[in-house]
């Protein structure tokens, strides 16, 4: 079966040679180098003995369990979906820097998923699924695998929307709220995740900066469309925070409120006020960052954020 399909070319033959391995993007290579020196283990590098779940009320624990469970589902997407980008880099024979770095990214996302699951567990309970099944569609996938395997979807579009924009809002919210995590174990975990994510976002911007001179009008349009799709169909569906879901009908009130309660307890998460402060700033930054490439991000109407 294996070789038969290869011989009959049911599997498309790959062209691998010449196989370049030398760095050609020093900034990206530096990220790969740094990633190797900053590995950590969720089991041993979090001060779990300082978590003390017994110090929190049942409501606070439930909210934090929900928050960290949803983070687990989100991080899992980076195991299940984003690795498709590494395949695309290899199949398109992109520079080795991209390939090397992305292997570490996959590893790091696996670590984040495990760490988020552990946090939920040690706070009392990990929820393996949303309370109402339809919410699974909103929080379950951001669709990067399908985009990565689609030759009609430009790699630049995937980078602009998911490697840059989606990661940027994630770390903006983390940066803006990490100080509210008064629990030492939670705070350390957020700091470690943030440290990795800063590299991931740097990777995205460095690649787009490097590719920018070759952007065609078509590329720019595909980037604009991809970013708009990400904002409207991923962020505004509640993938990262259910409070942002424009049609959050299937999420329960407890799920929607979990981020706020958890945040106020110092157990991670963020409040609607945080989102209202961070999200518009994130969009402004995104517009400014992409403007030199000719990428124009429109204004969005959101029932709670207003026009952003």
């Amino acid at each position: 079966m294996l070789v038969d399909k290869e011989r009959s070319e049911a599997y498309v033959p790959e062209q691998r040679y010449p196989l370049a391995l030398s760095s050609a993007m020093p900034d990206v290579w530096e990220l790969w180098r740094r990633a190797k020196t900053l590995e950590w283990d969720p089991q041993v590098d979090i001060p779990w003995e300082e978590l003390h779940p017994e110090r929190y009320s049942a409501d606070q624990l439930l909210a934090a369990q929900m928050y960290w469970s949803r983070r687990t589902w989100g991080e899992y997407g980076a195991i299940s979906e984003s690795p498709a980008l590494l395949l695309r880099f290899c199949l398109e024979r992109r520079l080795p820097d991209l390939q090397f770095f992305f292997t570490m990214r996959t590893m790091e996302e696996g670590r984040h998923a495990e760490a988020s699951w552990l946090m939920a567990e040690r706070l009392g309970r990990y929820f393996p699924q949303p309370q109402n099944p339809p919410t699974a569609g909103a929080v379950g996938t951001h669709g990067v695998r399908r985009m990565a395997f689609d030759p009609e979807t430009s790699l630049e579009g995937v980078f602009a929307s998911l490697v840059c924009a989606a990661e940027e809002i994630l770390i903006d919210v983390f940066k803006a709220t990490v100080h509210k995590a008064t629990n030492p174990a939670v705070r350390r975990l957020m700091e470690l995740i943030l440290r990795d994510e800063v590299r991931h976002i740097a990777f995205g911007w460095q690649c787009l900066d490097a590719w920018a001179p070759s952007f065609t009008p078509e590329t720019v349009r595909s980037m604009e469309a991809a970013v708009v799709t990400m904002i409207e169909n991923v962020e505004f569906r509640g993938y990262r925070n259910l409070w942002l879901a424009i049609e959050g009908g299937s999420a329960t009130p407890a799920e929607i409120d979990a981020d706020r309660i958890s945040c106020e307890a110092g157990l991670g998460g963020n409040t609607p006020e945080d989102e209202m402060a961070v999200f518009p700033e994130f969009l402004k930054k995104l517009r400014k960052r992409m403007a030199p490439w000719g990428v124009r991000i429109p204004m969005f109407d959101h029932p709670r954020l207003g026009q952003v």
Partner: protein
Amino acid sequence: MSETHEHAARLLSAYQAQEKRFVERRFPLRFAPEVPALRELYSQAKGFRWNPETDIPWSRFEPERYTKDTREAARRTWSRRAWGIYPGLTESTALLIRFCLESGGLGMDSKLFLSFRPAEEAKHLEVCHMLAERLGGYEPDPGDAGLARASNHPFAQAALDPDLPVEAYIAALGAVDDQLDLNLHLSHLQHAKDDVVRTALRLIAGDRQRHVTFAWTLLGSRVPALDASARAAVVETVNEMLSSVILGGYRNTWLLPEASREPWLHAEEQTARAGLGASTAAQERSVLRATLAQVRERFTVWKLDLAPLKHPDLGTV
């Protein structure tokens, strides 16, 4: 559109078509260990992390101690080894995606383990590249169609092929090919005399031991429950892997078509003699025979009988 872009688009379309044949059911998404031995391998991967740049004492590597011919041979050998490691980036990544697509919210032990493996393969690749560079320069192209063909198989696509049971894939790639690759690395380590090269091989072999253990452990947890058709697919796939890929020279230069063996075979002999991280053809022949016996024996435990292999040089193995 250039020819390269067209080809990449064809490849992506093939992956896309395969991916669409799966229906991923992500929830309920379970994280608790299901096969503790696999979770332990993941824990070991986290604990035994290393860095090619800092954990190998490069400052003590003195290529000038070796003759120009020896350096030339060793750079070729380590270049060829890099070509053999590179496919691991895509194969293990495709396998991770397959697990996610197929097992839905289950199988987290394997997924976490596989989330680490591409980075480990990348580290091994970096070591090969660093050694080749220090020995005179990495060679990016075999420059021979026969060797290019033998060392370039679309196994990452096979990992995402729903017609191929994942157990058959892991049996062929993990239990057979990875096992042979590990045993060859251990042979190279046994015969290496240069301390820096020995450190490099020891670190690589440590990771690869885990990769092989993963394959056998996963098969041990699944093969007993396979139906007759899946068991037949395992045997057929392993037989194909052995007869057409391994005996075709995928891992062993002396098994390549005669016209494609040089200058690589001579380079490996010279590298082995100098203790720079290779084995002679005779040593590799022993490793291959022992590996085949080992693999056959382990499959027999599950009542999976592999066909005898006939080869003009090796006879029936």
